[in-house]
């Protein structure tokens, strides 16, 4: 079944401040969406609200994945339903070993798969190589002492290992060097299929050149104000956001 995420008139606030003011967006399997917009527009907030971050309060609208209403579900329930967010600034979790963490997460998101520890780790090593993370990272604490670029690579590693259906990448390109950007873009393209849909939050052309999205949306002041194709991102690169009226 081709997955489908339906965001309807989504409103959300953080610390009493209204950030999302009615977002409408549908992402289906096989689709690549880019989400752009000025700093502070609410892009990361949208990502956090979608995965159920407890600091954000949904004040209206709905989030539905494959016909299941996730609006009031816990973060783990949403993850198990197939939703994945690569965080803009992934947090370090001291003491939690990367390999054990990924393995546990996989068992939770794919309880039906009886893959052995060894098979799982072998698969992991293949992908670590692809995203350019040394095997020694397996025994390190999650994101602890990772450089900015290493954190981003690890987000992508988690994505390919956990095999989600709808993926939000929040500024995955920021902090990556040129070579890493290519590795990450390759990994995204390899993972991309009819069965997964992407929402790529970014400020720059350089990743969109590698991954050509079919749809580009602009979020401004908590609302999507433009829905277009990749030409929108080109115009933003040239002219900024001034041409877009609220």
């Amino acid at each position: 079944m081709v997955p489908e995420l339906k965001i309807k008139d989504l409103k959300a606030s953080v610390e009493g401040k209204q950030i999302l003011k009615g977002v409408n967006l549908t992402v289906k399997g096989g689709e690549m969406h880019a989400l752009m917009g000025p700093n502070g527009a609410g892009k990361s907030t949208l990502g956090n609200v979608l995965i159920g971050h407890p600091n954000y309060e949904i004040t209206g609208g709905s989030i539905v994945l494959d016909g299941i209403d996730l609006t009031n579900k816990t973060p783990e329930e949403r993850a198990r339903a197939g939703l994945f967010l690569a965080f803009q600034s992934p947090v370090a979790v001291v003491g939690v070993k990367l390999s054990t963490f990924l393995r546990t997460a996989y068992r939770q998101t794919h309880p039906e798969d009886k893959v052995t520890l060894t098979e799982f780790y072998d698969r992991m090593k293949v992908h670590m190589k692809k995203v350019g993370l040394d095997e020694s990272f397996m025994s390190r604490s999650v994101n602890d002492g990772f450089s900015g670029g290493e954190r981003k690579r690890f987000e992508i590693l988690q994505m390919v290992m956990l095999r989600p259906k709808i993926i939000i990448l929040d500024e995955i390109d920021s902090g990556l060097d040129v070579d890493a950007l290519k590795l990450v873009a390759d990994e995204i393209r390899d993972y991309y299929s009819e069965n997964v849909g992407f929402l790529i939050i970014t400020h720059y052309q350089r990743i969109l050149k590698n991954i050509e999205p079919q749809f580009v949306h602009v979020l401004k002041d908590g609302k999507i104000v433009v829905d277009g194709d990749n030409s929108v991102s080109l115009r933003i690169e040239e002219e900024g956001y001034d041409w877009i009226k609220n």
């Binding site: 995965i51 159920g52 971050h53 407890p54 600091n55 309060e57 009031n72 816990t74 973060p75 783990e76 949403r78 993850a79 198990r80 994945f84 967010l85 965080f87 992934p90 947090v91 370090a92 979790v93 001291v94 003491g95 939690v96 070993k97 390999s99 054990t100 963490f101 990924l102 393995r103 546990t104 997460a105 996989y106 939770q108 998101t109 520890l117 060894t118 780790y121 095997e135 397996m138 025994s139 604490s141 999650v142 988690q158 956990l162």
Partner: protein, 482 residues
Amino acid sequence: MEVEYSKDAEMEKLLEDLKNSNVKKEDWEFHDNYKPVYSTGKGLNRKVVEEISEIKKEPDWMRRFRLKALEIFESKPVPTWGPDLSGIDWENTNYYNRPDEVNSTKWEDVPDEIKETFNKLGVPEMEQKYLAGSVAQYDSEGVYHSLKKVWEDKGVVFMDLDSALREHPDLVKDYFCKAVPATDNKFAALNGAVWSGGSFLYVPKGVQIDMPLQTYFRMNGEATGQFEHTIVVADEGSKVHYIEGCTAPRYDRNSLHSAIVEIYAKKNAHARYTSVQNWSKSVYNMPTKRAWVDENAKMEWVGGSLGSKVTMLYPSSYLRGPYATTHNLNVSLAGPGTVKDTGAKALHLAPHTSSRIIAKSISIEDGKAIYRGLLRMNKGAEHSKSHVQCDALLINDNSTSFTYPHDEIYEPTATFGHEATVGRIGTEELTYLRSRGLSEDEASSMIVLGFLDDVMKEIPMEFAVEMNRLIKLEMGKLGAVG
């Protein structure tokens, strides 16, 4: 890499075990209605001390020792350099509560209600399965003790200190308050004056006991004091592992626990002392624990401290002979509204001695965990080594931890090092793990197990399970969806 896998498989298993474990707080915070048969009543004076000695029909030297200790206790001020101790109600504390006449070597003879309490705590079951011997103490007195015959035949002595004083008076006198004199501190003096119960364990030369021996302390009465005195003697070339477990039910009025533990590890001996305390939040826990470690002997302190309102505990090792070593591991949980002021002391008094100290603490809400350590290397303790590692994990924004290491190094060839880490676990960390599919439970268990990883093998499983459960409860509140 294969080793790596087996470790991860172990962790997976542990996570499963933890998920299935159902240790509940009620399992130890309950109280029974057993009434003490005899109590000296509230407050402390010469008469109370004499009465205790009288009831116990002690030798005269002990009676005089008690009275001297009482004078020292009265002359010393309540220490103010550490946590607030103003909540100790000296006047309204019962310093001696005796459950019954019996002190038996058979469980059947123990009064029903007390037996029931120990049953609930799993004590007789533990004894059968894992122990070479055990002692059970209820309020001020030992109510039960046993030692497997093989060890008795080899000359091992294991019983409560009161019985030992009657049956092996000279042996007791040789060690009683030698490592911890009554002048040491106010709480040690108090213990000297009113001590009752505790264990006496003597392991003769060359005897190596492969199973642990355990004492279980239960404080049951409200506003009581428990003042046991434990002595472990590991004679030359012997080996022993002694374990203590302590619990008390929850009351509104504060109780006081002020124990003395003295350990003598003689030449080439190996002594290990494990204590797991889970006092309720109304207990002030103020023990003094010290070991004399002779030539080439090894002392290991393993401590797990969950409950109590305030704990002040700094197990000390006096490394008295060349090549003596001590390992000191302590894991503390400072729950809401509680203070854990714990640490270790290592005194290097001879050449080539070594100490290794690991202190781990977890603070929840306004819980406060303090590491207070003393490292002393005397002139002449040539080529001695020490390493101190303190790791703290803070669960909430208002959780705190402090480290106060104190070094006195007088020997130029000695080497030492300190390491300290502080980790914080909050909503962001939990959300990150949960956003990958981990349940709140798993997320918090992983964090805690990860934190304890390097010491997990050393601490008793039940302790790890209980600690994990308490932290999970608190983290549940953190990660709750709004």
